[in-house]
Assembly symmetry: D2
Amino acid sequence: MPNRYAYLGPAGTFTEAALRTLEPDAPAEALVPCSGVDAVFAEVRSAGVDGGVVPLENSVEGGVTATLAELINGEPLLVTAETAIPVAFTLFARPGTSLSDVKRVATHPHALAQCRGWMTRNLPDAEACALASTAAAAQAVAEPGSAYDAAIAAGIAGERYGLSPLAEGIADRSDAATRFVRITRPGPLPAPTGHDCTSLVAFPHDDRPGALMELLNQFAVRGVNLTRLESRPTGDGLGRYCFCIDADGHVSDPHVGEALMGLRRICADVRFLGSFPRSGSPAVTPLRGTTAPDFPAAERWLERIRSGEVA
Amino acid sequence: MPNRYAYLGPAGTFTEAALRTLEPDAPAEALVPCSGVDAVFAEVRSAGVDGGVVPLENSVEGGVTATLAELINGEPLLVTAETAIPVAFTLFARPGTSLSDVKRVATHPHALAQCRGWMTRNLPDAEACALASTAAAAQAVAEPGSAYDAAIAAGIAGERYGLSPLAEGIADRSDAATRFVRITRPGPLPAPTGHDCTSLVAFPHDDRPGALMELLNQFAVRGVNLTRLESRPTGDGLGRYCFCIDADGHVSDPHVGEALMGLRRICADVRFLGSFPRSGSPAVTPLRGTTAPDFPAAERWLERIRSGEVA
Amino acid sequence: MPNRYAYLGPAGTFTEAALRTLEPDAPAEALVPCSGVDAVFAEVRSAGVDGGVVPLENSVEGGVTATLAELINGEPLLVTAETAIPVAFTLFARPGTSLSDVKRVATHPHALAQCRGWMTRNLPDAEACALASTAAAAQAVAEPGSAYDAAIAAGIAGERYGLSPLAEGIADRSDAATRFVRITRPGPLPAPTGHDCTSLVAFPHDDRPGALMELLNQFAVRGVNLTRLESRPTGDGLGRYCFCIDADGHVSDPHVGEALMGLRRICADVRFLGSFPRSGSPAVTPLRGTTAPDFPAAERWLERIRSGEVA
Amino acid sequence: MPNRYAYLGPAGTFTEAALRTLEPDAPAEALVPCSGVDAVFAEVRSAGVDGGVVPLENSVEGGVTATLAELINGEPLLVTAETAIPVAFTLFARPGTSLSDVKRVATHPHALAQCRGWMTRNLPDAEACALASTAAAAQAVAEPGSAYDAAIAAGIAGERYGLSPLAEGIADRSDAATRFVRITRPGPLPAPTGHDCTSLVAFPHDDRPGALMELLNQFAVRGVNLTRLESRPTGDGLGRYCFCIDADGHVSDPHVGEALMGLRRICADVRFLGSFPRSGSPAVTPLRGTTAPDFPAAERWLERIRSGEVA
């Protein structure tokens, strides 16, 4: 029986596209749409599926709050893969609808935010209604007697629900992308590939000025490059934050392991989210002393001096 | 003629409550409700009003994306005041409605997120509809033939629109609060009070590993305590962030001025958002060498040695 | 046959006192006086003896240049023990000499420097002659027809050479002390005792501003406390320095090993001098996150997360 | 009447050469030789002369202890100029002496240290006698019935005292140099030249781990490059150090002033020694954000934002 995967549905979401990228060989019946990010997490936790795919962050809107809330506060799961999907939006309506007919537009709030300029210019008086996903919006528009006149959604969603495009490429920015992750129950980590990402959440002691700088220093001093640092409220009142961090490297790499131990020592808490292959390409040239060969060379030197050899 | 203020309306929002806290003497006709955060900014920029009040961040949901987008990317405005308002939610309906009648609930997405637990337990099958504000939701529910059965809103909103409470205190956390700011066109800054906040956005050079640590170091080395650090995507693709920073102190304070100059030198760009009186109380004890008297003492010492006196 | 030890002689030096403290059971015939620090190092290197004892630093004069030069630039040896000896000086002369007879005073330059105040007040016109050690000075004064009238030396030296004290306790400071080390050929390190010192020399890349700060950061970030940092010219022209460093802990301790690997990566060169039991007591309370139990706790946590356990 | 200058004499020392470099127009009668570094300082302090010249550090031996002790602990004076002199040594004797006749060699201990290799190879059995300066050694050898057979001294000293060279260029390294400084009583500082050095002594609180790193950070964060960091015992027992620091720039430069104020705040004490023109050339390229134009640009920006202009 093939592995089954939950995703933020319904069918036709960008998330489904991400899942198909990550699991190209999965048969259609192995893909389980869920009505919300929290439902995807619940399916994975209850072992109803083998894994789940959810959006993590968007290049315009930032982190996806529901996903971050589950990763930070929910029962712990592992992130085992990632992929980034370019985001392009279309305004879909039932066949026969014209733009001037559109009074109520259904979509997901993040999609709405990314099409705000187009909407202000072209549909200044339309009411925007927030649904759980862009695909749900397309689906809702397709229903007979729908309360909505149009949906902002991905191209795939319009096709699936038999809608007509009223306007394509309506996002304010054409280079927007969303990053998705696959989550699984705890178990063996993906093997290192030499091009990995380690993801975690750090909770600094909040009575210590400069705590965040110390935290970043744990990575810097080991030459571990950070590719994402996102602050989130802990929920314990204004002014208290935790930090979602993505770092280059695999937790089994000695320098990443060192950095994480250092972090663990100085923080109130650290939640490890996983190590997995990077989907993009590295952008940063390591500083002298932190290139890949520097680490095993220093380890061999340490072994020699510990044995009393002079070196 | 009294100063006029735009706010995120309609009447009855938490934002109106914040505005009344900040401007207790403003007559009702001086308060101008707007349909969205972007509309408040537009009113202020076009000089339609003297100032505006918008939500900035919430202790559960984090930063308010629309406000941050305007502050970061829009035509520059100054933040000149702040206040924090405890957030308590009530489920309101038209008189005569019972909980079991509720199929469609209108509210703002942030309010929904903060009542998610209660909703799952008590209204698992209800459809949640996102409106521009909780007050708009209350207003919509109050309309004859409304598409919604109930609204999650502030107490004040229910009263204003003649709704009955079905359940009070339904937020998952009782200590939630939202922080609001007053924005104005550029002009003289509020005078220092000895208990101020300086707010800014820093855009690091993104080709420099450790750039964020250097950035934080500019504050740490001058003993300037940070009370908020929020990363936001710059919008220029995944992996590129700017940082919204709140620091203790006023830009006219020597050590804050020093820190900002240092920041300006090492960053690709810095946007100054304002210095204004803090609404809360400081939590952090300064480290030795960074207490208030340490700074003028060091300045006097510098004057002496520059004059050739030995000291 | 007992182990034989070279020391900075002749008999009667503070160095002999240090050697007797470190090797209380060594018979007199196993102690080999040498005429200079370089001769002690030469004896050890040529295997003429099993070890050697030399002065390393003095609390008034600083580092002992000859010892540092050998440790930094000579054929590598290990430091395997240390001891600190309080320094008290006596002015000795041949019996029958009075203070007013003293025209030429023999001593070691460091001793002279530490008695400078007393000399200026009491023997302002006397010529000071620098010999290889205070004991050599006492010996020289004792010779018939000596060119010197008096010697500044340790109490033990005066007794040994039959001299009379003219003035005791003549050091300008009464709390002066000298630190001595035992050197041996490369071989197994002394076992960790839980109260050890690791000594090394770091040669930063000198084209990198802030190199010393990065170097110190390698220790700080692992909570390794430094007890000595002494700059020395590399000899390659003005403005080029290396740094002699003593750190708390044994190179076999994980956090000390980590710090040394980090140092090795970022420096042009690092010379390990040894790990050995501390003679004094620790003065510094470790910061939160760098106490002894923090390190194995973080290691166990890392093992768990590497195995895919959530933690 | 011309200014008068004390220097470490007698006539013929490297120090005299340094003084003539710094004051090329001073007539011979304005140059006052003193018998020791402490005597030079005493002459300056008592206003017997207008200034003094003393050696500060040597590229082989390191800091000159007597000079550092006066600068660190003595009644405060200002350093107002510096120069570096290449150090070349000659073995001089009375005419008619051959190398095999040399049993006792007079010189200064630093000179001896720098010729140690040559001495070991060529005069292994000679007794080395430490005098106050190499010139004093040459003078002493020139006296009839001298107790010494030869002197290690500067070329100029041999000529002045009528001695013959037995061996020239006997230093172990040919690139050795000594740095000399001119000291004066407190008064107006030398004007900035755009190529200056600021010299000071920092006394960290010694109960604070990482104090030295914080201290260096005060300079690094303002882009102030350090050209010398020399630890010295405070004299208050083993393990307690102060740090002699030379930095690029003049105390009247804003970024140097900032760094010094920062240092003053975090240290137990800071002694300012002076700002004066550099004698050598700068070696370090400033990092982005710390070049000369970056500082006034940031100041102008700060003025704008303080005035409420958006920038």
